[in-house]
Symmetry: C2
Subunit: 254 residues, 2 copies
């Protein structure tokens, strides 16, 4: 029952930050979590969890000596944050990642989230950044918490190994300066990537809020704006799709 | 009350197809719909709809002489399909689009959905295809209904003007053959687009199911597989992100 209380508490960002813990919900996320290197405190399973899923999660948990607690459906739902969480969640330790511990290769791409608010978008962006080989994803204030259960779920395991962490503008600026990383920004009116000329060896791309785009602070700090030309009868691309296209277009060329 | 009954009925695909009607939910989708050229039968508003939203939708509806019906919150929820639908929906006529009415320019890109099942993904893909200038999006059997309320909502208005329609493999094959459109398929193991050589003037890209990828039928019919190289510790890209990158990479070059 302690695990149940803990999971309920961890729906609040403050509680997650204070305890250094987060919740992964759904069979896929729990399975990915148990295969990761992160310490897992326990698994909470609803009695209505499908038998095959129960067996899969149970085997993975046993392999790592992680306790599995069965609870009533109603108790489970009182702790779950996402819709249709399939009746399983796990509580784990969030990795203590620090900007100054990130070791960048000579040629690197980074992603900067400047006020992206939809957890599904942020999760998809993290999955995309990891898939396309970004060295890290840095979330600025105004961005949804990276350890929000819906972000964890949409990231499909990417959060467990990709270097994703939150930082302030000051910390980011010091890091980019020290590591000689150039900062570009994504904006619908920016230069198309194929016309943007030579890419810096180390490049960070900042993407902004779903509705408002990049913040004033970001606009002051970027050295260049890149964007994708779109049809006049469409307002915008989805931010995760635009980020994917730009990261791919700006990938290091061999 | 007739509109309420109608909206409830239209949650079923069969009812949508029989009546040639669909439902748009949420302020954004209803507003986009009222700005489109599609005939709108009526707007259903919950009494808890925010006053500014009520005013916005009311003004747009009046401009088009569309009746607005107010109902109790519980009645509204009995008709709404998406989560948090903001208390407003509209019933409209789905355009009667036909493959043989699509006029292709000399250089064209088309998108083919081969069993894409998540409505959010399909909506985002439609928005992306419209934004990147695809001439049409053709949905094969096994793909979620294009007029599902969650697809309509995620498409952000793209469905109202982009040539999106459902067809069979036979209809698609006859159309591609007659219009001299080459069919390529998206597959993680396919050739990266920048190595795929010269693009045909008219090219259709088929994208497959979120888990299983392209169907056996699609694999038989495509002349080439293209795909994006991803990091070894990530299973896949989200299908909407992958579609966006491939469509952009395969865009006609001037």
């Amino acid at each position: 029952v302690k695990l149940l209380t803990l999971a309920r508490d961890l729906r609040r960002r403050k509680a997650r930050e204070r305890q250094g813990l987060f919740v992964a919900e759904g069979v896929r996320a729990v399975d990915e979590l148990l295969r990761s290197t992160l310490p897992v405190r326990g698994v909470l399973a609803s009695r209505r969890l499908a038998p095959e899923a129960r067996a899969l999660v149970g085997a993975a948990a046993e392999l790592r000596s992680v306790p599995v607690l069965e609870v009533d459906e109603r108790e489970f739902e009182s702790a779950a944050e996402t819709d249709s969480p399939q009746g399983v969640l796990a509580v784990a330790e969030a990795p203590a990642r620090r900007l100054d511990a990130i070791a960048l290769p000579a040629v690197a791409r980074l992603l900067v989230l400047d006020g992206v608010q939809d957890p599904g978008n942020v999760g998809t962006i993290l999955r995309t950044a990891a898939a396309l080989g970004a060295a890290a994803t840095l979330a600025l204030p105004g961005t949804v918490d990276l350890w929000n259960a819906k972000v964890v779920r949409s990231a499909m395991g990417a959060l467990f190994h990709h270097q994703a962490l939150s930082c302030t503008w000051e910390e980011l600026a010091a890091f980019l300066d020290r590591e000689r990383v150039e900062l570009w920004g994504a904006d619908a009116a920016g230069t198309p990537p194929h016309e943007a000329g030579e890419r810096p060896r180390r490049l960070a791309l900042a993407v902004g809020n779903e509705g408002a785009g990049l913040s004033a602070e970001a606009r002051r700090r970027v050295s260049r704006l890149v964007g994708l030309p779109i049809a006049p009868d469409v307002e915008s691309l989805n931010v995760a799709v635009a980020t994917g296209i730009l990261l791919y277009e700006l990938r290091p060329t061999p």
